[in-house]
């Protein structure tokens, strides 16, 4: 097992999926998993099955919706798309995330005070 790969923070998976759907338009589960792999340059450690649990959760909250369509090579697939409520949620989350990330970043940069 490679120890260099960080685990996905609780809650951030939802945010990343929303962002992926927002950026790329409707995707099936496999597509979402590939997108996450791609943007993290293969660094994220993730059971791809958990993507489906996250998709279910997001669907229940009304942030994404799904419909059956046809994928590459004529296979039946379920496509997920972000909704208006999902976009609003994403905007809020993104802003919150940037703030936190900024704060954490600044704290990490503090040099030890000289006496």
């Amino acid at each position: 097992m490679d120890h260099g790969r960080p685990e996905v923070l609780q809650g951030t998976l939802d945010l990343m999926i929303l962002k992926a759907l927002d950026a790329l338009g409707p995707l099936h589960g496999f597509g979402v998993a590939r997108r996450l792999e791609q943007v993290s340059d293969g660094v994220l450690r993730l059971n791809e099955g958990t993507v489906y649990t996250a998709l279910l959760r997001l669907g229940q909250r009304g942030w994404i919706r799904s419909s059956w369509g046809v994928s590459e090579r004529n296979r039946k697939a379920r496509f997920y798309a972000i909704t208006g409520a999902g976009r609003r949620r994403l905007a809020r989350e993104e802003q919150g995330w940037k703030q936190i990330a900024g704060i954490v970043d600044r704290v990490m940069r503090l040099a030890p005070e000289k006496e």
Partner: protein, 885 residues
């Protein structure tokens, strides 16, 4: 507006419950596609087919875990969990049929009794009255003086004044109830009819359809005879004939033209018996008629509260008092708003609430018992619970399982209880005294079932907590080894069970004291010395005043002839007449003032116009002077005989013989239509409770019946004389007399006491059930103690303890909590007893005797219940007991 996220989650979860299979299949499709696409991608990167397959699965993670987490995320996991728990609970109950039977039966008793009594309370006390906006329908009554109670009726002149002057009522009407014979010569039996004034249909918010209400000229004196019939009458007497409007209804041999039919929904709960016909009441607002005989019902204008309506009434009465002071006789005489309950349910509401409290206590005892059973089982299941905790079941999970089991148990008990409650309702309706409004509408309806469900849920949750409390609270490390040893006798469990026994004993004590109090009062009541002997006494009366009594001479002649005819019948020991039949519905009272002593004046003295034979027939004891003589009647001498209470009130020391009283005069005012001559007191007789054992003796004056004092009731002391012979005597005395109503005094006495019998009987029944349940509970605890202390007892006996000492010790564990409960329950019953006073006439505060009797019965029951298992402890062989383990 978009639904909040939590609501959408809930909705989608609800949807998922329905589409479980479809959603499972959809997820499987998605997983399959994902794996296929992944494999293809890996193959394209150069992996072999088998490598690609393995790598795709590895990257995906556990398929089965995903399925499960997806499923539980989709629906309500706890729902499936609850189904599993319920199935498990049912399996456990099936494995212990004796436990299940006792618990379910106990609960069924408690829940059934509650269901039955609550259905009565709901129908009689809680259900809204059947009028549109019933909160605006009010009744107006009359208070005669500051101290007096309100009567639910008014005099006609005052009603008419109120009707024309009121600003608070939108419409106000008066009504009188009467019984009429239906059909030619009464062939159709008798019917309850309502005579109503103008605005009646507006007040009750229901109008005849088909047909119409009464027109103006039909409501004036001497107007045409018209009637509106009710739906029940239309069905029973006309077979719902569509041409009924315009046809004829014969009432008391008069033909009434039917002008309308009330809709089926029309009800008039102000009287207990169902109404068949409504007739117009042409009110003669005669200022001389001061009798409050007209019930008043009105519809208040929207938005007015009761205080505003009462203020309107007060203003009207003040104006009337200024304009017509002669209309008022008492200080503080006024009109009051009265509720339906105040008029119709005064002696019904409190007994019903108390019965509900009583069955509530029975249910508490039943629950305590079942909790005890569950606890006993809980200790034997300690092992199971400990293992489950050790295997990783959370405490919440175990408590949830316990609660599910509790609810399953109480639901089964509740289902049996509802069936039992249905039977109880029928029994209650059968036993209930006549005259309770809406008693015929008592049934198990939605509200009752909701109440029962609530009771079931609460008891179920409590049971669940009780049964898992022991296993759940103890840590795994503590309970596994203890449980594994198989001899569990935790002090905590024993204390809890002893507590429950104490509570049970206290509750049973409460009910026992109540039952002892009420039944001793009832026993006293049935043994009340009425002052006369009711055995064989029969009253012969007429439903309506027969025409022969309209003229004084003819009436007097008929009366004498009938008395002679009746007295001559074989088996009749005597006959007499009175104007007020003993043990009847009501007396007859009139004011009086002592002549020459305006300060000795009273508003309501009971008056009886009786024949000479009355004293002999009733067995009145003469205390002073003489009784009425034949020539008092013949010469129409103005004389009166008073009873002992009357004499004692005004002449406690002196002899009243020869003094005179003025009938109908109160505080210098003469009541209209009364005899202006004064009456000489010629004798004093001992008191007689002729209004029944529940009524106090009233001050009474007897005057000779001369034919001017109203229609007589004939009294006969007839042992073994048939009703037909009595009826025949009536026909022979005067052919013009109608068929009489014949009633025995035993039956009148029984109906006077029906309410008291019901209250004391039901309380006694509840107390018996409580006692039985408590006995079961005590038996259970003591046998549990014995079973689990076998080894300890064996050890003690091996060390030299005597059997008697062991018996005492074991008994003590059962009886200590009982005695604590006795004291607490006794204290509670002292506090509660003031609510019982008056429930059965004569029931006073708790006496030491009653308390001791209840405590004695309970202690005896407890000792017997504890002795049975305790004897088993004595029989323990020390050698056997020590080898156990």
């Amino acid at each position: 507006m978009a639904a909040p996220a939590w609501l959408r989650t809930l909705l989608s979860k609800l949807g998922a419950c329905v589409h479980r299979r479809r959603d499972d299949a959809a997820l499987d499709d998605e997983i399959a596609l994902h794996l296929t696409l992944m494999e293809e991608r890996l193959r394209a990167q150069g992996l072999s087919a088998s490598e690609a397959r393995r790598e795709a699965r590895r990257a995906f993670g556990g398929v089965q875990q995903l399925r499960e987490s997806h499923r539980s995320g989709r629906g309500f996991a706890w729902l499936t969990g609850a189904a599993q728990d319920s199935a498990y609970a049912l399996r456990m109950l099936r494995r212990q049929p004796a436990f299940a039977a006792v618990a379910i039966l106990t609960l069924a008793l408690g829940i059934g009794a509650n269901t039955a009594v609550f259905s009565v309370v709901e129908a009689v006390l809680l259900r809204p009255l059947p009028y549109p906006s019933p909160d605006r329908v009010e009744r107006v009554g009359w208070i005669w003086n500051d101290r007096g109670p309100a009567t639910g009726a008014m005099a006609p002149f005052k009603f008419e004044y109120l009707r024309t002057q009121t600003a608070a009522f939108e419409s106000v009407a008066t009504w009188v109830v009467a019984t009429r014979d239906v059909g030619a010569r009464g062939a159709g039996g008798s019917a309850t009819v309502l005579r109503v004034s103008h605005d009646f249909f507006d007040v009750v918010g229901s109008r005849p359809s088909p047909g119409r209400a009464f027109s103006g000229d039909e409501q004036t004196p001497g107007g045409p005879d018209v009637a509106v019939i009710t739906d029940a009458c239309w069905t029973a007497r006309f077979g719902r004939d569509s041409g009924v409007v315009g046809s004829t209804l014969i009432l008391d041999d008069r033909a009434y033209t039917i002008v309308g039919v009330m809709p089926p929904a029309f009800e008039f709960p102000e009287i207990a018996s169902p109404v068949e016909a409504i007739l117009p009441l042409a009110l003669r607002a005669n200022p001389g008629d001061l009798g409050a005989n007209y019930q008043v019902i009105g519809r208040v204008r929207a938005g007015l509260d009761r205080a505003a309506v009462q203020a309107d009434l007060d203003g009207i009465v003040d104006r009337l008092r200024r304009e017509r002071p002669e209309q008022f006789s008492g200080v503080g005489e006024r009109a009051v708003l009265m509720t339906f309950q105040e008029i119709n349910l005064t002696d019904v509401a409190r007994p019903l609430w108390l019965l509900l409290a009583g069955v509530g206590v029975v249910l508490l005892i039943a629950c305590t018992n079942v909790a005890n059973l569950l606890l006993a089982r809980g200790t034997t299941r300690l092992h199971e619970l400990a293992i489950r905790r050790a295997l990783g079941a959370s405490r919440t999970r175990i408590v949830r399982q316990g609660i599910t089991e509790g609810i399953v148990l109480s639901a089964l008990g509740g289902a049996a209880g509802v069936a039992l409650g249905g039977a109880g309702v029928r029994a209650f309706i059968h036993l209930a005294p006549a005259g309770i409004p809406r008693m015929d509408q008592v049934r198990l309806d939605g509200l009752v079932l909701a109440y029962t469900t609530f009771v079931v849920l609460v008891t179920g949750v409590l049971f669940g907590l009780a049964s898992t409390e022991l296993g759940g609270r103890r840590g795994v490390s503590a309970s596994v080894p203890v449980a594994a040893r198989g001899t569990v006798n935790t002090p905590a469990g024993r204390r809890l069970r002893q507590w429950l026994i104490g509570v049970e004993a206290g509750l049973a004590m409460l009910l026992l004291v109540a039952a002892a109090l009420l039944s001793s009062a009832f026993y006293q009541l049935t043994r009340t010395d009425l002052g006369f002997d009711p055995r064989g006494l029969v009253a012969i009366s007429f439903r309506r005043p027969p025409a022969v009594f309209r003229t004084v001479d003819r009436g007097h002649a008929t009366e004498r002839a009938l008395v002679a005819q009746l007295a001559a019948l074989p088996g009749v020991a005597g006959a007499a007449t009175t104007t007020v039949a003993p043990l009847g519905e009501r007396g007859y009272n009139m004011p009086m003032t002592v002549e020459g002593r305006p300060d000795l004046t009273e508003g309501a003295i009971e008056w009886r116009a009786v024949s000479r034979e009355y004293a002999d027939l009733m067995g009145l004891r003469l205390l002073a002077g003489r009784w009425l003589a034949d020539d008092d009647v013949a010469a129409r001498r103005p004389v009166t005989v008073i009873n002992a209470s009357f004499a004692a009130r005004y002449w406690p020391e002196a002899n009243p013989i020869g003094l005179r009283i003025l009938p109908g005069v109160f505080r210098g005012e003469r009541r209209q239509g009364t005899n202006p001559t004064s009456l000489e007191i010629i004798g004093v007789v001992d008191d007689v409770r002729d209004l029944g054992p529940t009524k106090a003796v009233r001050r009474t004056a007897f005057i000779p019946q001369t034919g001017t004092e109203g229609v007589p009731v004939f009294l006969v002391r007839a042992l073994g004389v048939s009703t037909d012979a009595l009826r025949a005597a009536v026909r022979q005395a005067d052919a013009a007399l109608p068929d009489p109503v014949v009633s025995t005094f035993e039956s009148r006495l029984a109906s006077r006491l029906a309410k008291d019998r019901l209250a004391s009987g039901l309380t006694g029944l509840f107390a018996a059930v409580a006692l039985a349940l408590t006995a079961i509970g005590i038996y259970g605890v003591v046998s549990w103690v014995v079973r689990h202390a076998t080894r300890e007892i064996g050890l003690r006996m091996a060390l030299g303890a005597t059997r008697a000492r062991v018996l005492r010790q074991v008994l003590w564990r059962g009886l200590l909590p009982v005695s604590v409960g006795l004291v607490a329950g006794g204290g509670a019953s002292l506090a509660a007893s003031r609510y019982l006073v008056g429930l059965v006439v004569g029931a006073a505060r708790v006496s030491p005797g009653v308390m001791l009797a209840a405590a004695g019965v309970l202690t005896l029951t407890a000792i017997v219940a504890a002795c049975v298992p305790a004897r088993r402890a004595m029989a323990i062989d020390p050698a056997v007991a020590l080898r156990m383990e």
